[in-house]
């Protein structure tokens, strides 16, 4: 008979999840009830701890629901015992599953392999990292070619670099930074993935490797702070990289620009007449409490009427993309879940929004796809805050298309 002390599940919890907190779970079920995909999971968060404690670690490790968490952090944010479910327990269990030879869904394997091999989740050549800047109309400092001291090391990240829809936002941000007179630089083809999404999905070893390589890379350059458009990368750099001794001042673009509103506001000259609702993404929202800054930016744009969805701020409904969800829609839907972004766009339409504003690169394409599914195409536009700012500065690319 296994005692609590010798049960592999308990040993696992003790070793991996910061020791005590997971033992403190009172099985209240707040996590499972809050989880947007909880109803479809064979083992929602509460069950994971229950099963691990009951000697059923094997069951949860081989379940399909192990791969259904999209890392929205609602469970962790509401847990009365402060257990870090989304960012520690789930990744630890996934890592353990893979160590035991359990195969993650095929799409996820491919994503991990892409990051390992190409340094980006899309499997694109590293040499194409700067393709987004091919016809950029403002000067670009490629620090990998000409190292020079800069104020801002702008970490562009995977989707903003490679994905066509995101590249528009990337170029707009270049224009906005330049208009503000910021001395900024990028890492060009040397830039590699930061790794938040693969960490969430359990590839601890890959994350460690990325941290090591990125530390070596960043240490070569002189900059005052890192700024990124990518909310997930922000989260990893701010919260997890320091655990490995890689600590850098880092800001998400929303707080960076909000701090410079006095310089930015006079440049917002062109009105953007639209009813806008802002979607709080999970990484800068629930995890980092950055709720006001994105709103400040939107309210500074003349013509914008800001409305709130019923589920906003810490209660915002995740788009379903984080933590690997981008690649697992198929898996999730196959096991009874749904694309959360489909629900979210309806919530935006419900409050009369004409524009759904976002500040995380994964959301742009997810929400745009969902508007098609929900029959809201052309009725609800999806824009990154940067695009709206750029439009008001008469620099925006999207509207000119």
């Amino acid at each position: 008979m296994t005692t609590l002390q010798t049960d592999p599940g308990m040993e696992f919890l003790a070793q991996r999840v910061d020791g005590d907190p997971a033992f403190g779970c009172i099985q209240c079920g707040t996590c499972a009830a809050s989880c947007p995909l909880g109803a479809a999971m064979e083992y929602p968060p509460r069950q994971l701890i229950l099963q691990a404690r009951s000697g059923n670690l094997d069951k949860i490790l081989s379940s399909a629901s192990l791969w259904m968490c999209v890392g929205c952090h609602t469970c962790s944010s509401r847990c009365p015992r402060g257990i870090e479910l989304a960012d520690d327990l789930w990744p630890a269990l996934r890592d353990r599953a893979m160590q035991e030879g359990i195969q993650p869904p095929a799409e996820l394997q491919e994503t991990f392999q892409n990051i390992f091999k190409y340094g980006n989740s899309l499997g694109e050549s590293a040499r194409k990292r700067l393709d987004w800047a091919k016809e950029l109309d403002v000067p670009l400092r490629d620090l990998s070619k000409e190292p020079t001291a800069v104020e801002v090391l702008w970490l562009v990240c995977d989707y903003p670099s490679y994905y066509p829809r995101n590249q528009v936002v990337t170029r707009d941000f270049a224009r906005v930074l330049t208009a503000l007179g910021v001395r900024w630089g990028v890492l060009g083809n040397k830039e590699k993935a930061v790794g938040d999404c693969d960490r969430l999905y359990g590839e601890e070893g890959l994350f460690e490797m990325l941290v090591e390589n990125n530390k070596k890379l960043f240490d070569k350059y002189q900059f005052e702070k890192i700024v990124t458009l990518d909310a997930h990368s922000y989260r990893a750099l701010e919260h997890f990289y320091p655990r490995y001794g890689a600590e850098y001042p880092v800001e998400h673009y929303t707080s960076y620009l909000a701090d410079r509103l006095d310089l930015l506001k006079p440049l917002l000259t062109k009105p953007v007449k639209a009813t806008v609702t802002y979607h709080d993404n999970c990484c800068i929202g629930r995890r980092a409490d950055i709720f006001d800054q994105p709103r400040m930016l939107l309210e500074a744009i003349p013509g914008v009427k800001l409305v709130e969805m019923a589920r906003n701020r810490e209660n915002a409904l995740c788009c379903g993309g984080g933590g690997g969800g981008m690649w697992l829609d198929g898996h999730i839907v196959e096991h009874g879940g749904q694309r959360l972004s489909d629900q979210r766009v309806r919530q935006a339409a419900e409050v009369g929004a004409e524009v759904l504003a976002v500040s995380c690169p994964l959301e742009l394409s997810r929400f745009e796809d969902s508007t098609k599914v929900a029959g809201l195409e052309n009725k609800l536009l999806v824009r990154d805050i940067i695009e709206l700012l750029a439009e008001s500065m008469d620099l925006g690319e999207k509207e000119k298309q």
Binding site: A106, E107, W327, D329, G330, V333, D369, K372
Partner: protein, 320 residues
């Protein structure tokens, strides 16, 4: 056999002469015209003698019809071929880049001490030398080669030659096996055919094929809707079948089916030779791929460089 002759390894699959055999005979006729030699077709198997007269583009059709050759196995086939070739000639051995050719031809080359060239697309004779163009790296790189040694064994990609309109002397020689045929280490047990009941893609007018560019199984929906709107069916290249996202009955290409529909729409398919050989004769080929250099555009009638997830839903809408 003489040192000017061109030998063609004929193939019979499920009781029909393979298309590639006629293509190879066409190529052999051209080469023989330049060397002044004969086209010699070699037909091995059991119950295959009836196919001999269809190989009339050849000058000699050597038929070795034996029970021990009923099902393909590399060792006995190799032994027969090696013995047939003998010490003189031919100039060239043409084999198809097929499941049979890929097993036998390289080994034959090794036994004859002859160079073997893989993935050949074009072959010509220039005096003493063979001029060859081969397509490697998924069709992204071409190589022009010169082979002076004789014989040379060439693995030809399907679609490289056209079947010949001309006839040769077409003399059929039915011979016993030149070597004693022992059951070897590799023996045939049975043929496993794909399960009936699924769609026969070779009978469809419209096929929408998905390749690696579809990325996720979830995205197949987009292709399915397009297929539906056109009254067609889904097909796929090998990587998709390997993942198990579609059954093997939907596979187009070397390992799967050869299709010639009225309309073939290739979504996220790179166009590697193994796939192209299965669809190149479609009447209308439309390709969508994010890579402007994708070889599929060499075979398509119309091409779009774009993400299929953007274009295809728009197309489905436009059709409705």
């Amino acid at each position: 056999m003489s040192a000017q002759d061109i030998l063609v390894l004929a193939e019979v699959n499920q009781d029909a002469v393979a298309d590639i055999t006629f293509e190879l005979l066409g190529g052999a006729r051209q080469l023989a015209g330049a060397t002044g030699g004969q086209v010699v077709a070699v037909l091995l198997g059991h119950g295959v003698a009836k196919h001999a007269e269809t190989l009339s583009a050849a000058d000699r059709i050597i038929v070795i019809d034996q029970e021990q050759l009923a099902a393909f196995s590399p060792t006995p086939y190799l032994a027969v071929l090696e013995s047939l070739v003998g010490s003189e000639g031919p100039r060239v051995v043409l084999a198809g880049s097929t499941t049979i050719g890929l097993d036998v031809a390289p080994m034959l080359g090794a036994k004859l001490n002859a160079p073997v060239v893989n993935a050949c697309q074009q072959v010509a004779v220039e005096g003493d030398v063979l001029k060859i163009t081969a397509a490697i790296c998924g069709g992204k790189v071409l190589a022009d080669l010169e082979v002076s040694a004789s014989p040379a064994v060439l693995l030809m990609l399907p679609g490289s030659f056209r079947p010949s309109e001309d006839k040769g002397a077409a003399t059929v020689e039915t011979l016993p096996s030149p070597v004693e045929l022992q059951p070897g280490a590799v023996t045939f047990e049975k043929m496993i055919l794909p399960a009936a009941g699924d769609v026969d893609i070779t009978q469809q007018d419209v096929l929408v094929a998905v390749g690696r560019g579809i990325q996720q199984e979830d995205n197949m929906e987009v292709a399915e809707e397009l297929a539906e709107s056109l009254g067609g069916e889904l097909a796929a290249s090998r990587p998709i079948i390997d993942q198990g996202w579609l059954p093997t009955t939907r596979q187009v290409g070397k390992s799967g089916m050869v299709v010639k529909p009225k309309c073939f729409i290739a979504l996220g398919v790179s166009g590697a030779p193994e796939h192209v050989e299965g669809m190149k004769d479609s009447e209308l080929i439309i390709a969508v791929n994010t890579d402007p250099g994708a070889p599929i555009f060499d075979v398509a009638d119309y091409g779009v460089v774009a993400d299929l997830l953007d274009v295809v839903p728009a197309l489905t809408e436009a059709i409705k």
